[in-house]
Amino acid sequence: MADMLFTAEGVTKRFGGVTALDNVSMQIPRGSIFGLIGPNGAGKTTFFNTLTGLYQVDEGKFLFDGKPLNVKAPHEVAQVGIARTFQNIRLFGEMTVLENVMVGRHVRTKAGAFGAIFRTPSARREEAEIEQRAHELLAYIDLSKRAGDKSRTLAYGEQRRLEIARALATDPKMVALDEPAAGMNATETVTLRTLIERIANDGTTVMLIEHDMRLVMNVCQHIVVLDYGKKIADGTPSQIQKDPAVIKAYLGGAHAEVGAKA
């Protein structure tokens, strides 16, 4: 049994009468790239929001890095070591590219108002470290040239990469990417794929929530498929591709729709 970084055990989440997540379990090996897929409304985002503290689970539990994941507020998640990006990019638009990444260091640093106003030696040292680390991360995603620009001036693909760098700045054990390839062109997706593989190679586990099947099948070592809040498949990309339940959930629906239109 491989070393598991993240485990979900029988997670259930209900909204009134709707069971958005129904007894979902999964395991993510440390250092792997893990895919979470499913048709629209399958419960991917709900799962994600429960994991990141936005909702509390009704039943079941999460284990992260050997300990129960017990987050009461969204800001505690980064502290524990899970960083995320957003489906609809959420950068700090009026801040520079460098500052965006520097914000990511917030959770691993501690200088307060006193240190800021009096520029104490420790605060200055920390500030220099933050800046240096941010520059390293910008080099990592190949955005050093734009360090001083406001982040809203970046191209779409660059914004996606910056969001990933900002997430990495929190020194996460696992980074969760919510549809990072959405809206990207083919070249941008290839760059993204290389980046994701590099992040995993450098030791950070990646959880990928994605619609782009080619990306998921190419990059993930392990995939879980959700449909109507239930886990319908769990395995390697080749297993998933052959799984009849998955084909039904995805292609069956699509075929039916095409048929109805014709």
Binding site: A83, F86, E94, A113, E127, D149
Partner: protein, 364 residues
């Protein structure tokens, strides 16, 4: 090489401008004094507005929390000084007790406002803060007859709408600033430094300290967290920022500066009344921040200087005599014309410079 020379040249011109500005700021009260002490007072009030605008800038410009009741903190600072250094209670504490105390009480008021509005944003936040500002003003207005449930006696705390008079001036090392400084003994006959001119330099010192403090805060870990909060609260939380704490910090620091300015105001004016701390005042300070350039310190200072000096300058320009000369008759009452020109100027600035007069640069 030529580029390097250019850069050196730029640095040098910049330095020259900087020194020139510094000299101007230092001799300004004496230049204004030649026109009359009323102009020195206008300069002093401008410096107070610079402090207020900088404080509000932390809350509105940097952290993005719209605050329409900011003047309440100014009032807390002013009343702290007034009550504890006047004939009202016959208390006369020194400035080094009162200024920090006033600032801390204002900061406390800031936290008290901050705590219940943590979950509010935008318009909703604006309404609650507006209410808070009014509550403080109304308290000042009505705390002249405070009754206790177990006795019939009432206590006069704030002297109500009549305000507090006979407030002590700032006493620095035995020198009462209001009395001014007589330097004729140094054989410079007829040259006096008036009390208001002395106040100018004290206010200037505090304004410079505020600029440094706010600048350093803004360019720190906390300042970045504030900006992140302003830009996107959800993303800020996902980055592990405890938004509750930093919101409270923003309200606290903004209020601190306001309280400091309030104490200084009371010490110069010698008289405070609730009338000085109305909603219009809050809106004026907000306008300084917005018109100057939210979140950009030089812009905010420019906004404060322009908006506090402009009405006074227009007051002279919109004089009856001027109209008499141009049109032969007085067409519009000077006071009406003054407000008209002022509002028009604000509208024009917002039309042509929606980001403010001096917004933060696109590239750093």
């Amino acid at each position: 090489m030529a580029k390097l020379m250019q850069l050196k040249q730029d640095k040098r011109t910049q330095m020259v401008w900087f020194v020139a500005l510094g000299v101007l700021i230092l001799i300004l009260p004496f230049l204004a004094g030649m026109l009359g002490q009323a102009w020195v007072r206008i300069l002093n009030v401008t410096l107070l507005y610079v402090m207020l605008a900088l404080g509000l800038n932390v809350v509105v410009g940097v952290a993005g929390l719209l605050d329409l009741g900011y003047v309440a903190f100014y009032a807390v600072g002013a009343y702290t000084w007034s009550l504890l250094a006047s004939a009202h209670f016959n208390l006369h504490y020194p400035f080094w007790v009162l200024l920090p105390l006033g600032a801390c009480l204002a900061a406390l008021a800031g936290l008290m406002l901050g705590a219940p509005v943590l979950k509010l944003r935008g318009d909703y936040l604006a309404i609650v803060t507006l209410g808070f500002g009014e509550i403080v003003r109304i308290l000042m207005n009505n705390f002249d007859k405070v009754g206790l449930p177990w006795s019939d006696e009432t206590y006069n705390i704030t002297n109500g709408p009549r305000g507090i008079t006979g407030i002590d001036g700032l006493n620095l090392f035995g020198l009462d600033l209001r009395k001014g400084l007589d330097v004729s003994g140094f054989n410079v006959s007829g040259f006096n430094v008036s009390g208001l001119q002395l106040y100018y330099f004290v206010f200037l010192a505090f304004a410079i300290l505020s600029v440094i403090g706010v600048y350093r805060l803004q360019h720190s870990r906390l300042g970045r967290a504030w900006q992140a909060l302003r830009e996107d609260e959800i993303a800020a939380k996902a980055m592990g920022i405890n938004t509750r704490n930093i919101k409270l910090a923003a309200f606290g620091f903004g209020a601190l500066t306001g309280g400091l300015a309030g104490g200084l105001f009371a010490s110069m004016q010698g008289f405070v009344s609730p009338e000085s701390f109305g909603l219009l005042e809050s809106i004026m300070i907000l306008a300084m921040v917005v018109l100057g350039g939210m979140g950009h310190i030089p812009g905010v200072i420019l906004g404060a200087v322009l908006l506090s000096a402009m009405p006074e300058v227009i007051r002279y320009a919109a004089d009856e005599n001027v109209q008499q000369k141009i049109f032969g008759v007085v067409l519009i009452a000077p006071e009406v014309l003054r407000n008209l020109i002022f509002s028009l100027a604000l509208i024009l600035i917002m039309l042509f410079k929606p980001q403010g007069l001096w917004p933060s640069p696109e590239k750093k």
